[in-house]
Symmetry: C2
Subunit: 307 residues, 2 copies
Amino acid sequence: MAFLMPTFPSVDEQLTYLKKGSAEIIREAELRAKLEKSRATGKPLRVKLGMDPTAPDLHLGHTVVLRKLKHFQDLGHTAIFLIGDFTGMIGDPTGRSATRPPLTREQIEENAETYKAQVFKILDPQKTVIDFNRRWMGDFTSDDFVRLMAKYTVSQLLEREDFHKRFQDEKPISVHELLYPLVQGYDSVALEADVELGGTDQKFNLLVGRELQRSYGQESQVVLTTPILEGLDGVQKMSKSFGNAIGIHEPPLEMYGKIMSISDEMMWRYYELLTDVQVADIERMKRETHPMQAKKDLARRIVADFH
Amino acid sequence: MAFLMPTFPSVDEQLTYLKKGSAEIIREAELRAKLEKSRATGKPLRVKLGMDPTAPDLHLGHTVVLRKLKHFQDLGHTAIFLIGDFTGMIGDPTGRSATRPPLTREQIEENAETYKAQVFKILDPQKTVIDFNRRWMGDFTSDDFVRLMAKYTVSQLLEREDFHKRFQDEKPISVHELLYPLVQGYDSVALEADVELGGTDQKFNLLVGRELQRSYGQESQVVLTTPILEGLDGVQKMSKSFGNAIGIHEPPLEMYGKIMSISDEMMWRYYELLTDVQVADIERMKRETHPMQAKKDLARRIVADFH
């Protein structure tokens, strides 16, 4: 049956492709081992990216990690886009200075639909597994909850920078917010994820998945984080509320113009994080291509992704 | 239908009977109001006492609060003895300096049976409602858990003396231990308790019930605490591990002898907490009865409760 196996590129080629535009891999040696095993057995890796259906309008900042998921998909691995319809009701406390208002079931379902349409601008709909964590969390029994919660201590969770700061500042942290990282971690157990992707701000939650898989008797997932993209100003992270974002639904000309307005420095950053152009090619362009031309190419590429 | 109503003693008589041997009532005015309403409507109060089936062998220290439940029963109110078969799997963190090992389902069921047999030495089996919190906690959905946990903050729970100390001392507190007070509180919601009894060390947990009932749209229960009984030495609290306890299963002579060994001071304390003799009668005995005779009477009374 060997002839039916998908043929993966060499492990070194895969690693080079995957490392581009990644912030941290925990741990690279483990990723290498998983890629080797996958290549030897012909079994693709299960690569998880979870998003809460909170902000239905994606901007380019959100696509950095989606593009990393696409890279795994390009290589023949299984891209799992997990919509956190259960966790969405808790609200991810990451980076928050206050408890998030919970979403209603209706908002979540509506946002989930919008999400799917948007992520398929980047991912191949035919090859993407879309899942919802309510599928397993909805069936969680009270005993399952007690068992899951017994696996972490309060201090371990309060070590998180955002929780720690809120705790020190005496800003309330609701008990249910402690559930968030545990449920996100358990999602990796339920999905038997080999790799989980997320922004650098998600590192804590992603590491919980590693721990929980171990304690549920699975091999730990590799955690691969991507940088937080700076907005048009090149200083603050891209965010609608900072007015420095490019929404993926913006009209082509609007998008094109905004990209042309960024600095040369940011242009190369966007090449790294928002295109599939490989590192060696980017280096060559830096030497050989006029920045104005490179910027036009970048703008065309990005517009083409969404229009 | 008024002629079918149970006839309750006057509210003042009831209050006097209930206040004997209680440490604190939160709040007495509310208890009075509930007693008045109960008397006016003929509807008995629902009085809850929860125990985790952890230590199946009761000693006299455990009977102080059981006797208070009996007093409500004597007055015609509904005594609800709640066996925490669900909370037993979490382990009450009260007064603990480390996480309790969870009980197995088998241990819990075995202990629950032993418990029932023992508490009926004090309570009237015909009139006592025995319930198990797995009845509602077992059906708790993941959404129910999120909603319950959203009602408290981490800081509110870490204010508890035992948690606070462990947190300060950097001794681990498992996340699931935070569930304990919330579930105990929710039990009051599920039972629609009018009054909850507990030792003074349970005050925090009992107050959570008040809060949760309010937030689930019920009138808050009254919390009535009873003192922690000192052991034979008259100094430390009665506890098997301190070797100063009288188990309710001990043979009559053994029990009698141990009671005869206590100090006169402790004798009056035991009269207050381990008998139904009323305050006025105890005061008269102090004046009129020889201490040796009073002590013999006490020993006979207590032995008669269990043999």
